[in-house]
Amino acid sequence: MKILVVATPRDHCGRIEELMNAAHAAAQGCTSEIHVLGTGVAFDETIAQAGADHVYRLDTPLSGSFYPDAVVDIAERACAIVTPALLLVTGDALGLQVAPRLAVRMKATYVSGCCGFERTAPGRLDFVRPVYGGKALEVVESTAPLTVVTVKAKSFLNGERRPTAAQVQTLDFPVTAPSGAITRVQVDAREAHVGRNLEDAAVIVSGGRGLGSAEGFVPLHRLAERLGGAVGASRAAVDAGWIAPTFQVGQTGATVAPDLYIAVGISGAVQHVAGIGAAKHIVAINTDEEAPIFGVANVAAVADYREIIPILIDELTEKTT
């Protein structure tokens, strides 16, 4: 089976490793060739060490054109060269808009947010993905020669990859935005620095509707600072205007995999829980004894955060200094 991994300009090394883990998981138990196309960035070394057979570099920078259009265009051309049975892209904001378009163009099926593969018979590959906001999983089969897949973040953190000696080949496609019609007239990265590290944070202190106000985030920031972590928020808190959308964790925000996730005043709506499933340890603080968040937490305190968090900060300060 030929697999084409498309690394986009937004994929950093960690994401490429996840993609490669996914490719190797899909290839398990059958003879395979793993091809990697790097669009816009050169991660050749990471890719080569991650077990690719062929690496295609594209040295033309994509910065001058509208990314998504260019990525769809380049991936389409690469498909013509590789003729893969499976195409993998990271399931981030860019991948999620690029992959379905590519699938339509290539008359392929599309599997969104794949978190696992199933091989029930030789030569057969089925796809596992979350549905209903992560409340359930579904197993789907493809009905086309090519399946375009977006890989759910943090689903393939570990994996066995066979060592390979990758052949590196430079492609010189002309990079033009095919629509040519979209121009970026303003970039407002005002909130860029905040919440950006959420996906890589080891500790996240997150707040929800139960905080009651924007001021409720103040002790959370202090606790996060104490633990060297980041602050996150549920959609309810973002919708209430208490905190910027870049802080949002959950199905429609960041998918996170910290060592420790502290959910404060978060009821645990399915969409939120979908984004924190990969957290190693979850602590919930909520006044509502019945809050669904307690169903996914390791430890819980039924308490008012205003009361308990300052004491918690003191306790953590005393014992660590």
Partner: protein, 259 residues
């Protein structure tokens, strides 16, 4: 000037999720649980379109694909004061929704098309980008606000770094996401009543002939759905807030030392 908004019915997550269950035979959500309403992001897409119309004019047409009973979401669109509503009537599970929507949009001619960025049931987020390809027009993602018109539309889009404004000309397809500026309006009771009497246009899928000359786009097939077993056993802290905080601190230290 037409703004099309593609909407669908989805599970209402504000209803209790305690009894969530998948029927083992149908692979659908148990009927006893299911309560449906307009999908959350589709409703936000409608709001974005209506805000534009209220400011700058034009007409908003809500479009949905489904059986004849699927008109509930369209009545909701009328209650929010959309100008028109169209049902593309189809029960054929082998034809992609995006293909049928594309045929529906073509039936009325060009315009801009908005849809929610992803649904709360299947959650594939493919309808917008796929629709753009079927229509052969540009696609912009995660839009929170639109302005301008004709050859100079400005879309404010959420990006992983914040926001950006993209300029493009009509026609195009945009997926819409939430922001504090586009919380869906709550329909007035009078408009809800009037929506029940409003006329819904119906287009039969068969007459629309999607993708002329081409076979239907292939789709994945669901083999099974299930609720995964989660094994986290929640340990509840006891005692005074002081004692609970101390126990939590102990737990946090242990976890972080191990990690």
């Amino acid at each position: 000037m037409h703004i099309f908004v593609c909407i669908k019915q989805a599970l209402d997550w504000n209803a209790s999720t305690k009894d969530f269950r998948i029927e083992p035979t149908t692979h659908q959500v148990a009927v006893s649980f299911a309560r449906y309403r307009i999908d959350q992001f589709d409703e936000i897409a409608l709001e974005v379109a209506l805000q534009y119309r209220d400011r700058q004019g034009g007409e908003v047409r809500a479009l949905t694909v489904g059986p004849a009973e699927a008109d509930d979401v369209l009545r909701h669109a009328y209650a929010m004061k959309a100008n028109h509503a169209t049902l593309v009537e189809s029960t054929d599970k082998d034809v992609s929704t995006a293909e049928l929507l594309a045929a529906g949009v073509r039936h009325y001619g060009d315009g801009i098309v908005l849809c929610g960025r992803t649904s709360s049931d299947n959650g594939t987020g493919q309808t917008g980008p796929a629709l753009a390809e079927f229509l052969g027009v540009p696609f912009v993602a995660n839009v929170v606000h639109i302005e301008g018109g004709e050859n100079e539309w400005l879309c404010r889009c959420e990006t992983p770094d914040g926001y950006e404004v993209l300029k493009l000309s009509s026609p195009f397809v945009a997926s819409v996401t939430n922001a504090d500026t586009n919380m869906p309006r709550v329909p007035a009771m009078k408009d809800v009543m009037l929506a029940h009497l409003a006329k819904i246009e119906t287009l039969a899928a068969a007459t629309l002939c999607p993708s002329p000359g081409a076979a239907f786009a292939p789709r994945t097939r669901v083999l099974r759905r299930y609720v995964p077993v989660t094994s986290r056993a929640c340990q509840r802290m006891e005692g005074t807030p002081q004692e609970q905080a101390r126990a939590l601190a102990q737990y946090i230290r242990t976890v972080l030392t191990r990690a």
